[in-house]
Symmetry: C2
Subunit: 449 residues, 2 copies
């Protein structure tokens, strides 16, 4: 029987957990088991269909495993025997472990819409061959309907028209696309940017049926209207991939994720850890379970899990939820709570907003108008979240906010923030919008104190 000190089950966060384990435990034997021949960069998947040109250009190189001395076993783990501390492979092979990490990720949610199993209806699986098939197929498509206006749906819609003459329509059940992630004014701007490219957006509508005989020919909407479609992309969310964990008797929690503590150690078995989309997450803010699934959270958890395997020391502070996207060249980012979320919690908040070009003077080339909205707790002045839109720096500005949130900075702290500025790289020191948004919140905060 093959045996390792550490066996990791899974893809992206599995690689990160393995590398973290290697850093902390240089002498341990580590095996990574995964079904997929190739691991795709998950956030890059929509870009396969436009900018990046194909799934082969969106791959995480396995050289990372080799250079960290992690053995890769390709195959499907079908059982975990916690008594014997073994993993049973589909081919019958048995692999022993001392510590086991579940990093089995998520699978796309496929809703029970009549006709969902017709040909050319594609949930977004993170599988290389499958996405290759979608890629070749897309070149023959005339009318594409995307069900779900979240990140995946919006990014697919933006990308798949690049170099192709396709009619694309996004169908979203909520009043706005991206509504689960952003406040209305940002959703509206993102929608308008996407519509500029010629993509159609239908909100407040669901798909009641998928039409066609063998192959999809259209969809019937809740409004009664029918749309032509020879391809459908499903982007309405994901479910944790936890069948194997359940079978192994691990306690599942919120939405069937594996229950873990702050050390990423499973509730059930101190020798088994979990991280990434398959693991339960608590919100950084209220500590309640949250369904957010982001590659950045997954890798952060993986670093914690890998470090804790032989001595639980490093604590997970909970999911802040930090992300960014680009729609038709305009970037959007959110860190922490939106105004909508804060209101849903019944939090008393003060909002500060500011706008500025992301260069100074604004006449520098490629200058991009940037908007920032920050949300502070009324009683304490502590930042609860922020939203930004603008150009390429939005990604890292969102990360500035994440650092501010992680360390619970107050509006007063952010007013004093010492940002570096440069004409070609940032807003001016007078206009820097993260600081100015905090400045605008300080007075209402003081008045309410």
């Amino acid at each position: 029987m093959k045996k390792a000190d550490v066996v990791v089950l899974g893809g992206l966060s599995g690689i990160t957990a393995g590398i973290s384990c290697r850093r902390h435990y240089p002498d341990k034997k580590i095996i990574l088991i995964r079904k997929e021949g190739t691991v795709l960069i998950p956030c890059g998947i929509p870009y396969i269909y436009g900018t990046v040109g194909g799934p082969e250009n969106n791959v995480i190189p396995d050289g990372l495993l080799e250079s960290n001395g992690i053995e890769l076993i390709r195959g499907e783990a079908i059982e975990v025997d916690r008594e014997k501390k073994t993993v049973v492979m589909k081919g019958g092979e048995i692999i022993g472990y001392e510590k086991l990490v579940f990093a089995t990720g998520s699978v796309p949610l496929v809703p029970p819409i009549p006709g969902i199993d017709k040909e050319n209806v594609y949930p977004v699986k993170k599988e290389f061959e499958y996405l290759s098939e979608v890629h070749s197929h897309m070149n023959m498509v005339k009318d594409l309907v995307i069900i779900g206006g979240g990140f995946i749906g919006m990014e697919f819609a933006d990308e798949c028209r690049k170099g192709r003459n396709i009619n694309v329509t996004v169908v979203e059940a909520m009043p706005h696309c991206l509504q689960a992630a952003m406040d209305n004014e940002y959703c509206e701007e993102a929608q308008a940017k996407l519509e500029e490219t010629g993509v159609g957006i239908l909100v407040n509508q669901t798909v009641e049926a998928i039409l066609g005989k063998k192959k999809v020919t259209g969809v019937k909407l809740s409004s009664g209207k029918e749309l032509k479609a020879d391809m459908i992309i499903l982007g309405i969310g994901a479910l944790p991939n936890t069948d194997l964990a359940k079978k192994a008797g691990l306690e599942l929690g919120f939405r069937n994720t594996i229950k873990v503590d702050r050390y990423m150690q499973t509730y059930t078995d101190p020798d088994i850890f979990a991280c990434g989309d398959c693991a339960e997450k608590q919100s950084f803010f209220d500590g309640r379970p949250t369904g957010v699934m982001l590659a950045s959270i997954a890798t952060s958890e993986a670093r914690i899990a890998g470090a804790n395997l032989f001595s639980p020391t490093h604590q997970n502070c909970g999911a802040i939820s930090v992300f960014s996207t680009v729609i038709n060249g305009r970037a959007f980012g959110v860190a922490g709570l939106t105004e909508r979320c804060a209101n849903q919690m019944r939090a008393k908040i003060v909002i500060g907003t500011a706008e500025a070009p992301d260069t100074h003077p604004g006449g520098m080339p490629n200058s991009c108008h940037t908007k920032v909205k920050l949300i502070f707790a009324k009683d304490t002045g502590v930042i609860m979240g922020g939203s930004i839109c603008g150009g390429k720096p939005v990604g890292e500005m969102t990360n500035v906010l994440s650092a501010c949130i992680m360390h619970r900075m107050t509006a007063d702290d952010i007013v004093k923030f010492q940002m570096g500025t440069h004409p070609a790289l940032t807003s001016s020191p007078i206009m820097y919008p993260i600081v100015n948004a905090a400045c605008k919140a300080v007075i209402p905060l003081k008045a309410s104190a």
Copy 2:
């Protein structure tokens, strides 16, 4: 006699101090006095000579004063009478104040080199008409020598060849350009980038004499070599503009800056505050006086001073020193201490480095290879500084580091940092170099604990 609750003397940080005062004290009458007709964006000055096209495109609009109800008086303040609490103007006008803010900035350092007063030798003054004159003159120049390879010198050298056929040589006294600000490997990369544009760089050399009769014709170097020059730009540093403060009897400190406490209140007079280049700065790290002058520090101090005028409440935590620059399209940023500074302090440190493309996959358009170097205190693991080079996001990545430093995050904290990632905007969640540099420092830190 004209009278105001608050009189501010100065330019950029004066505007920011005025706006901050207005936010905190909506009913106060505020007057800003300055000599200059127009205030230039200080960091934009080198870009006047290339990308931006002229000083008229690099101006801070006075609309900011109007919209904040700040009265602007153009003229030179020649005396402050602290007994009578008045400012005396050159034309004889007297203006009374309750609180006074010195934001008088700095003036270029002009070294006593023989021949320094010849025609066409230009220290970089922050004056509109003067810089316009330099601009028109530069179009007729064939051989430009820049004395000083700091930011100003390097940025001028990079910019002034844009659209002009000039021979440009930078003469630097130290072994590397930018040496006061960056570690050697970053200095070397910046120099190589500048040399690619055709600019000549001479290090370890000083200018012993400026040659020519009335007008400059060349320089004599410490090596004995002579260089042809029909224009010289001086970029070797700045001195605080504190003659008026000295005359008013305010205590001066390090390098003739006005002595202020953590509230930006002068040591001498509780009704007088100072901020920006004219005010003494203490290092965030060791609390010692530091000569660093940055627009971002100046505006941060101005926000603190403006808020404290009628009730000293907001403390300055000291200068972290955060900046970024761009040389021939490559961006460089530093927040906090360099390795060189840490070694000079005899600090025991652990360094972590990482590299990654700033998109994921790296094949996304305009992807730029990014390098990060982080410095941690060996005993505590607290971050002391970081250096980055790469593309446009470097500006805001440097600000991520500033937030980490301001809140004294440890390497363990940064390992757990929840960064948002997006294919077009950031490195991948597996490769994000700020986090990975911290990961690499964690083990040596643990070993030394």
